[in-house]
Each structure stands twice: as C-alpha cells, then as structure tokens.
Symmetry: D2
C-alpha cells in the first residue's frame, strides 16, 4: 500500500498539473523534492503543494536519497540531461512530452534508459483521458471494425510561457508543442503495431511574429491504409479545442475533451476567476471542464505509470512511443520543407499490419456494392457486373 | 500518509461502485472486510475487489478490530440498524442515500451519531460530481447572481435490483430512489442555509405494475423565493438522463452528467460489452461516459469524507443534510396525496435568508424595467412611470 | 397559382416577422395594406417591405377592397376589435397569439368568426417549427408510444416593446406572453383531443419592478394521465431558451429551437450586427439561428393557413385552440393566486381519452416489472408475486 | 408576381428534392414538364408532384413552349448535352452539381451559355444553407478576421443510385460526388476572389469493391495563405455527416448541418418511416433534420436563382464557379495520382489577394507575441527581443 516518493523537475504549469494530480484526491504517492532553476519559484511551489524540500541543484534533486521516481517536467531542451541523470541514479524516470526535440535526441534518451535498465515512462496525458481509454478499448473489441481514419485536433491561442515560443529551446512550433499529442492519440487508435509509413505536412506562420509554425496540418499514412490527420494551431480563437474523431468500417467515435463536455455557463460577469485552461473570456457563454486533471488524463496516466513500476511491466506509453512520435514529427518538418510526402525514418519494433480488406458479398454472380434496408423491410442492392463493369440497383426480399 | 481501513456493508451495485472508487487509481484507503447477507455473493465480492475478508455477520463486520470506518451500502430498510451498530462501535459511519425511508427514521439516525459523537457522512455522490463542485463554487463566487430556479432531473427506465421496487423496503418509488439526489443538488445551488418552505408534488404510476410512483415532479419553494424543481422517472427511454439547470439573476448554468458529455459512438454492433449505467442498446448511436466513478462524483465524495475525518471537520454532506432531504421527500409524498402544497416540517438549523431583491435603476424619475444595448451602441430603455403605471420605451446614448 | 392579398394590422416586431415571411423566398402572397397607429411607423414599414399602402385608419385597412385576408399583429388589448371588424367585412382573419387576454375574450372572438362564417386562424408559430411538425408526426405514428410528459420552456431576458410589460394591455406577464406558446406545443404532443383537466401554477416577480409575473412554472394534468409542464421567464440570462422535451412509454424527443442548433460562433468582436432574437452579447461565443422565420415556424404556419383557406378546411391551429389556451392560462392565474390546483373551465369540443395503460407481462404466474437484456444475451426479469407483493429477480434464457 | 415555368430534366432523388422545394410552401414557380429516360418513372413523378406533362423526349422537354427555365437534374455524363440544348433554345439553365466531369467539360458548358447569352446557374445547394449564408455574411462583415482555415466535411455510407458508383458516368468517386460541395463551401469562406493555387490530395478505396475512391482528403492552398481542407467518404457510419469549420484570426465558426441540429429522438422502434437522408437505423437514438429542403439550402438556392433571373444579375453560384470547382477537382485527382502537390490549372477571373498579415504590437522595443488578461486585470505579455531572438514574459498593468 506504500506509494512512491518523487523528485519533481520543473515548477511551471506542467509541474503544477502533475503535482495537483499526485497530491489530489486520496493518492498515496507524494512529491518529496522539487527542482526549479529559480529559488523563489521553487519555494513558492514547495509551499503551494506542501512539499518538504525544493532545490536549484538538479543533480541533488535527482539523487535525493528518499525518492525512487524522477518526473521530468522541464522545457524540451533540458530533457536529455535530466533523463541521463536519472538513469545514472538508477531511478525510474517519467518524462513529459515531447520526449525529444528530434528523433535523434529521443533515440538517445531511449537508449539511455534501456542501457541503464531503468523504467522509462512517456507522460503523454491525452492518450489517457477517460474517454480515450474507453474508446481505445471499444476499438480493440471491434466495436467500429477496422479503423480507416483518425482526426486529432489540438488548437488554442498560443502557449502561456515564453520558452514555448523559442524554437531553439523546443525544437519547433505548434507541431512540437501540440502535434506530439495528436500523433500518439492517432497511433493508439490505428494500433501501435501499425507502422507509420509516410507523412504529408503543411505548415505556415500566419499570426504570431515568430520563426516557427503557428499552424500545421498533416496526413500520416499507416501500413494498413488507415490515415491519421492532425490539425494544430496557436491561432485558434475561443479557448482550447481538443477533439478526436475515429472512423471505422463499422462505426464512428467522436470525442470532445474541452469546449463541449456537457457543462455550459453564461455569466454577465462577476464571480470571475479561473474558468479553464486557455479560456479567452470571463463573461458571456463559457465552457468549463469539470475536473481538468481527470478529464485531461493526468490521473489515469500516473496510475498506469506507478502500477507499471509496481508490477514490473511496461506502461501504456513508453520511451519507445516517444521516439516514434519524434520520428513522425521529424518527417512532418521535412515534408513541410520539401513540400512533398516524406517517408518516416524509424527503427521499427512493431510487426506487419495487413491492409484493410473487405470480402465483397455476391448476389447471383454480381458483386454487391451496397445493401440498404427499405422502410418496407425489403433490401435494395447496388450490384456491379464483374464482366461489363456496369452498375444496377435491385430490390429483393429482406434477409 | 496512511489511509483508512473500511468495513463495507453491502455487495450490490452500490458496493461495487464504492469499492471500485476506493481501490481505483492510486488510493490509499482499502476495504478490509465486506458484509453480505449471502455468503456466495460476499465471497465473489471479496475476490472481485481483492478484499481480505467477507462475512455474513453484520455485527462482526462493523466491530472488526482493524477497521475505523463503516460504509453503509445496504437497502434502505437496513440503514438504521447498521448506523446504530457503527455508532455503538464508535466508528465513523458513511451512509448511502437516502439516509432514511422517512424523516423520522433519518432524524433518529442523526441523533444516534450525534449522541455517540462519531463522524456521520451522507454519501450523496451527485452533489460531488466535478461539474457540480465547480458550478457550486461559481455560484458562491457570484458568477450568476442570485439563484432564482434550479431544475434537477434524474430519469431512467427503472432500477436493476428487485428490492428497489418494493416500497415496503425502500419507503417509496422514484422519489425515494432518485428525488433524494435532486433535492440535495438543488439545496447546494440555492444555498444550504436557505430554508425549504413548502412543496408541491405530483406523482403517478404510468407504466410499471407497482404500488409506488414511477413518475414524479415537484416544486420546492425556498425562503429566498428561489424555486427548486425536480423530475424523476422510472419510465424514461434512452438511457439515464442526469441533467441540472441553474438560473440566476446574472447567469445560467447547464450541466449534462450522462447522455451528452462529448463522447459519442456509432456502432453497427459487435465488440459489445458494457456501455454505461442504464444504457438501453448496444448498437446504433451510443453515449458512453468516460470514467463513471469520477463523473458521477464518487471519487470527490470519498476524498471529502476521508479528509473531513482526518481534519476533524464536517464533510460537505452530513447526516443533517440527509435528514433535510428526507423531510422534503416526506412533504412531497404528503403533497401528492393531498393534492396540495404542503409545508416542510423540519428542525431547521440554518439561518434566515433574505428574499431575492433588485434595486431598480431610475432614469429621469422613471423606473428602468430593462436596458438593452442596440447595435449602434445606444441604449434602449423600457421605462415605467411610477405615477400612472404606464410603460414607454426610449433610446438614449450609451453609458 | 394566385396568392392572397393581405391587410397587415400592426407594424412592430411581429409585423416585421410576418411580412418578412410572406415576402421572403418565392412566396405568392403579398401584404397590400398595412395599418399602424403611427403614421411614421406605418410609412417606414411600407417602405421597408415594399407595400403599396399604409394607413392609420383601422376600419379602412380591414375593409380595403383588394385584400381578402386580415392578419392581426396588434397588442393583445386590440385583438377583439380587429377580429370583429374583419368578421364584419367577411374576410378570413389570422390572429397572433395569445388570442385573448382572458378565456372570455377569446370565446367571444371565437363566436364572432363562427357566427360570421369566416375563416379564423390562430397564429401560433412555435407549433409549426419544422422540428415540431416532424416530431408531432413521429408521435402520431407511434414512434415513442403513449406520451407521459411534455416539457415546454420559453425564457429570455424580457420583451423589447413597452406595451408587453403592461398587464393592463396584455392580460398578464410572462405566462400571457410565453406560456401560450408552451401550452399549445404541449397540446399538440399529448393530443388535441386529450382534455386538460387541472392546473397547478406558481408565479413570482423576482427581478423586474413590475406588477405581473416575470417567472412562472405550471403543471397541466390531461385526461390520459399525461402531464404538461411549462417554464416561462423574463429573467433568463444568455439569450432566448426555446426547448421542448417529450417523454413517451417507448421513446423520447428533445428539441432545441434556438441556442444550440448546430451553429456556433466565437468572435473577438467586430463585424457585429444582428445575431439572433434576444441575443445578449455581440462578442464571445454566440449561437445564431440559420433562418429564423423558418426555424421559428412562421413559414410553415402561413403555408398551412393559406392552404387551409384555399382548400376550405380548418388549419392546424384554430380560434378554438386559441380559446383552449386562454382557458388554461386563466386556470394558471387562478392557481397561482389560490396556491392550489385548479380545474380548467372549458367548453370542451374534444372527445374522451383513455388513461395510459400497460398490460403487464406475466412469467410463471408472476408479474414482470422489468425485462433487461444482459451482455451475454440472457434476460434478467424483475418479478412481483401477486399474492405476497414480494419482488425477486431472475435470469432466464433470451426470447 | 408571376413565377417561372420550368422544364425539369431528371426524376431521381435530386429531381424530387428540387420539385419538392419549388412546389412546397407558397412558391409561385412550377414545374411544367418533366423529362425522364423512363416513361413509367416520368409518369410516377408527374403524378407525385402534380405536373401537367412528362416526356421521354429530351429536346421536346427543353423546347417546351410554355417553359422559360430548364433545370438539369441528370447524371453527370448528360449535363453537357442538356446545357447545350437549353442554350440553343435560349432558355435560362440551372445545372446540378458537379457542373462537369472534368474542367474541360465544365469550361465548354460555361462557354456555351456565355456564347448563347443565356442565364447559367450552378445548383450548389450546400452553399445556400441558412447557416452558411448567415456565416458568410458574418465573415464578410469581419466577425472572425482573416480566414486562415476552412474544413468542410461530407461523409455518408454511399449513394443510393447505381449510376453514382460508375466512374465512367460520373467522372470519379467520392470527390466528384461530395468534394464539389466542400470545395465551393470553402471558396465562399476564403473569398471567391482568393485564387486556389495548389492542391494536395490523398485518395483510397477501402471498403467498397469499386475502381474509384471511396475516401479522400485534400488540402487547398489559396493565394492569401488560407488553407481549405475537405474530407469526403462513402464509408462513414452513422448517417450523413455534414459539418463545416471556419477559423479566422479573430474568431471561429462551427456548423453542423445534419446529425446534431438540436433534434434528438430515441425510439424503441415502431412508428418508423423516413428519418433523414442517409439515416442508417430506425430505432435507438436518431437525429432527424427539421425541414431538409430548407436546411440543406434548396429553398434559398432557388430563390437566389429566380430572383437573379428576374433582376438580370448573376446568382451567387454561377457556371464559372462550377468550372473553378471542376478545375480544383482535376488537380485533386492529379495530386492523388502523382502523390504530390499539384497546381490548379485555371482561367482565373478573380483578382489578386494579399497574404494574411498582422502588424505585431511592440512594447518597449520588444515584439509582443501574445497578450493575455490575468484574473486580476493585469496583462501578461510574451515578448521577443528583435536583436537576440530571446523570449520573455512580463506582467504589466491592464490597458
């Protein structure tokens, strides 16, 4: 029944979300020490979350004798160093998204934890939202047949912290910030063993005076023939738009994680305060989210990570997944630059996935293209003559 | 960091929901012993939730030396005995809704825990849904002004277990099953210190061949002038409809807890399994809920209860609240029987609430009934002459 | 293919909506003359809608030699006089809602048109919205079984014109303005031949400094046992809330006519202008309606009226319906005043409606209360022993 | 006030929709003669819609002495012949979508009507839905700033008629059937004078045993930098998904035209009949549309066409627009084949559109990347130092 004692690296927005989750409800895991580059921010964080210690010494935080897990919630350019230190200390390491700024960086981190034999968890919260987890189980159970298309969209008016805007520190713009979420959501639906083959990506910088993209759209073609599509933006107006759509040969799934979740409020103003992450207004029609750390997946994510550590198994999201995501993002940036489809360069550990296939029904020697049930119970068939290629329709008695 | 060890009384649907919550995620509280009237159901429950012991001896379960909290998840007619035993044992007792079958029964339970000086928590989950908690905070912060009206609706096609249908065991029909939720939701929004003055209730038995009501609607008038309205039904078709609406002088809140929460699935069938509580179909358009124990409030409810025990404070929902709810339900049954408004008989511990009041603006000696902003920025006023009672409209420059 | 030539009485908001409808799209009916109490408003209206003539002489407008239909779009206290003039002129008369300020007034108008033998149409637009018309047909076809409950809600922040606020001219407050819509919507769903037996109504004046109600809720019990419930308010915040819900023994219908119709817009401001009737803001999240005159029922309403005239049949909504609505509103006001259920006093022309009844299934001599299909295909029955009144559950093979 | 007399070519589903619209409500235009390739289908159509004559002689139908407008509702491969005959007869011709099977074909039809000097209207109904019309006006008025991205989606389980499936007759698969709608919707939002520069399209045949695409996604880059994105499918499950999303620098628009329009029905079955175009089930949760011919744009489309004829002006959608759409579809097919971006080959009549541009605000010599309003009213600025390229954040007093 004993929980874990955690080194938390980083005390920004993501550190707050993580610690809020860990210390929330009746959790048994606790942050024991927090590292911040700034002493005052570290102290404020320590007080805010009732943490015994904070420090500005990264190595000391990682090697703290009473912690067994290191959580990396630092800006992207600091991930590799932190992961290296944790691996050297022989501790489990959980790293926020994106794993690296490039696939090369991610691959080195993957190799580091594998060589050290420590647990490596990839903190991809949006693959753990309760809706997403239930939807993945439905898809795996066959509820929607073969997945033909997944759309994952994450857009908002732009990040809150300065470092997010500096591509030198992050590795890019909206793709590196938001696309990493979408890509891994897509992989969970098309199947993680389904190889991403090639990518077409369009990027542009339309609103913010920055060097990196503030808008991007990409298509990812998987080995099965299924298509992943992501849309990311730092110029969306109206809050944070987090939606996923999954199409299958036998069904459809639509998920809205943020702006339309069955909670709607109109206020003439007054009684303000925090509405929801990235909310743009404090009056008029507002769309709060009930419990953000639960609905955005943080609760289930940490449960999976700590259980996986306890049970000696891999978590749902691993450093290898993080590396795959970086590889796809690399291909996206190459595609945008070359204005062409680009192959995904990848050390593939998954298997081979067969192409989506249907066995067409035949009727009196003709191929049935479509079968509809008419109001009177009879069936209307669209038939194709295999010899001539001609199409006809025909109404027959119901099955 | 140590959690509580719990005696769980009852191993039906509610026992499952409770234990699922307690043992879920990274919780530190555990069920130590489960009581069931049936040895085989107890054993199955023990195995299902990895509980050390089960027993058919109620007293033994309650007085188990290793538990400090007793959770009552039994049919209504067994609440009083269980609460009495727990109080005698000097343990904290958390009792499922409704507290009693009547206000008299509830009042005796309230007196029992108060006399024994033990912690009494009222397990009213729907007052703890994340949406509801956030909405209550918004209302308390003034976001929608004074609350004029609350609608709380809970309807579904009827309960799963036989005992629910037997009014001798439960104390009634859909009101005692579902109305108790609605009443306490309403109280949280109009303010718990706002006295429920009188009730008008209509009941009918339209579909099921039972003696108790399968449909009911009630109006509750509070001291402030605010109105609570609940609609409960065991004959609703389409799943479980759980919605709340709150109207205030400066805003509006709408919450949908179950059928429209941003998760929509169409399936041609196949890959079935559990969709959601009270779902009616396994194909076509379905509306699952992400994480039911979170979204229905169980997680936050137990967090509040155990924290309150740890901190020596009262929880959000107390035995007194349960007693108030039973008093209002008693008035509902009397109203339905007498076909008239009925006073709520109640040992009131709250204070006095002033009537909702507005200070009408005046303009050149006339009362401003309404002020609208026109597209051109000017304001249109509807004015009432206090002398003649005549109404006019007038367009003036914007403020 | 020739259309009708119309006398339009009244040039306010409702006259605009009516004429916009008649002159919109490719309609063949035209307003020939408009009457306004104010010469300047009449002239502006004439120009706005390209109408040959306007006048301030009511009798001249009604008896205009080139018109065959009189549309009454005047304040409530002027309906009776206008209807009388039209009947004397032997012209078809279409009167806006509510027909009268009281049932007595409405009954006199009904008698006037019947005595004169002229066509009398009741302009109740919200019974003609395309959604409502299609829903009524579904209910009549049996799609949701017997109707057990109808909720009709119309709320907004209050009317635009001064005269609406003066109960001396209108006959009341929010009930007379909005409740008339709700009542007739309810009647269309429970069946127009289903007698309204009694009414319970609660009213209050919570926000606006007026003598009449700005909020009201009512329950209407019909002969079948079905319940109508209406909620009207002049204090709602967030726009105009127009929703109907219908519950039946075999189904459910939900309609949203205004705030959530699949059209959502966020704007940071700019490009303003008209959003929708009763919209409160011009920035933030807005919910416009596509084509208001179509979606609010005006188009289908006038089509039915003119076709009925052409075909010599009664329209869907007649002066008798208007009289029934006024009779129910009278009962509402009496109920609110007496704080008690009140019978609906009514010269009833409908028939007798049987009570909603179900023939309970039996299983081995026991009454089946509920039958559920389990995930494994078996059926779970809740059974009642008719001798003892005891309930049990039992799992049996699927049908 | 006289209407038009129409030759209707084609008596299939589209002929029904068109005639239903023309003869519906109080319209003054009438179909005078219908042409069908089959005498029996023509006769049934004539009777269904109360039309004086039907014929199997195409030329006779077009040159009928009593008609002045020819509506082409024939399969795609018959459009060019029909347009030619109508132009020769000197009559106005309204042609259903897509105009041609290829840009060449479309261009010849455009030249034919221009040479003959007859009115040519392109019957693109989905650009005329009431929501779309209102949204276009909002965009033109500046409500959402510059349009950066438009998503138009049309997917369903596949067409009803055999000929749709035969690419030899239609010119393609889902793109030619559905993509034509999406493209023209997109053009209306980005601005018709905004040149479509290049296209990236991915197609696949995943479910139906046909030679043409049953799924396609495309990106269209416009001169302004704005991106159009369409998704079309004949394999979607759950009905007909018709949604558009528009993102702008200052706002957002979301439109759902079919599956979620505020009309929801659950039925246990029974009382069936027609639910909505492409509906897949007759029980469970259903999502009907109120008035399909209005909500799908047919009513406003014909109003615009006939008014344009009467007023001697061009309609909103012209043969030139149809030609542009075909040109973009040609580029889509080339792109899918070549697996690369393709230029849109086009005889461009529009002007030049400037690139979307923002004038970044500066603050003390630094570039303001983003400005957020904090709960306490102060503003948080993300700043970029133009010299170093470094980013910082800074909290300042509110404006």
């Amino acid at each position: 029944m004993d929980g874990h004692r955690i080194t938390m690296l980083g005390t920004g927005l993501i550190g707050d979300f993580y610690t809020n989750t860990l210390h929330g409800q009746r959790g048994r895991d606790r942050v024991r020490v927090a590292y911040s580059r700034s002493e005052s921010r570290g102290a404020a964080f320590r007080e805010r979350w009732d943490i015994p210690e904070s420090t500005t010494d990264l190595a000391a935080a990682v090697t703290h004798p009473e912690t067994d897990v290191v959580v990396v919630g630092l800006p992207n350019h600091l991930h590799e160093e932190a992961v290296g230190l944790a691996a050297s200390a022989g501790k489990a390491v959980l790293c926020t998204k994106p794993l690296g700024r490039t696939a090369d960086e991610a691959r080195r981190m993957l190799e580091t934890v594998e060589r050290a034999g420590v647990f490596g968890g990839y903190l991809e919260d949006l693959c753990y939202t309760p809706k997403t987890l239930k939807a993945i189980r439905s898809v795996e159970a066959g509820a929607i047949g073969d997945v033909t298309w997944v759309r994952s969209r994450e857009t908002h008016p732009g990040p809150h912290s300065a470092w997010f805007w500096d591509g030198r520190l992050t590795g890019g713009g909206a793709i590196i910030d938001l696309g990493c979420h979408c890509i891994e959501i897509i992989r969970n639906f098309v199947g993680k063993g389904n190889r991403p083959v090639e990518v077409l990506c369009h990027t542009d910088t339309l609103v913010h005076p920055i060097a990196d993209e503030d808008n991007a759209i990409a298509l990812i073609r998987f080995e099965s023939g299924g298509i992943g599509q992501f849309e990311v933006s730092w110029t969306f107006r109206g809050g944070m738009d987090l939606r996923d759509e999954v199409a299958g040969t036998h069904g459809t799934i639509w998920m809205d994680h943020f702006l339309r979740t069955g909670f709607e409020m109109f206020t003439a103003g007054g009684g303000g305060g925090y509405v929801a992450e990235k909310a743009e207004t404090a009056a008029g029609w507002l769309f709060p989210v009930g419990d953000e750390v639960s609905e955005l997946g943080y609760v289930d994510m940490f449960s999976d990570m700590f259980r996986a550590i306890d049970e000696g198994r891999a978590p749902q999201e691993t450093f290898y997944d993080g590396y795959v995501v970086n590889s796809i993002m690399d291909a996206c940036y190459r595609s945008a630059k070359h204005h062409a489809w680009e192959s995904v360069a990848l050390d593939w550990r998954g298997g081979i996935t067969a192409r989506i296939a249907s066995n067409p029904e035949t009727y009196e020697g003709q191929v049935v293209i479509k079968r509809e049930i008419l109001p009177d119970g009879r069936h209307k068939l669209i038939l194709k003559d295999p010899a001539t290629g001609d199409f006809t329709d025909r109404v027959v008695a119901g099955a």
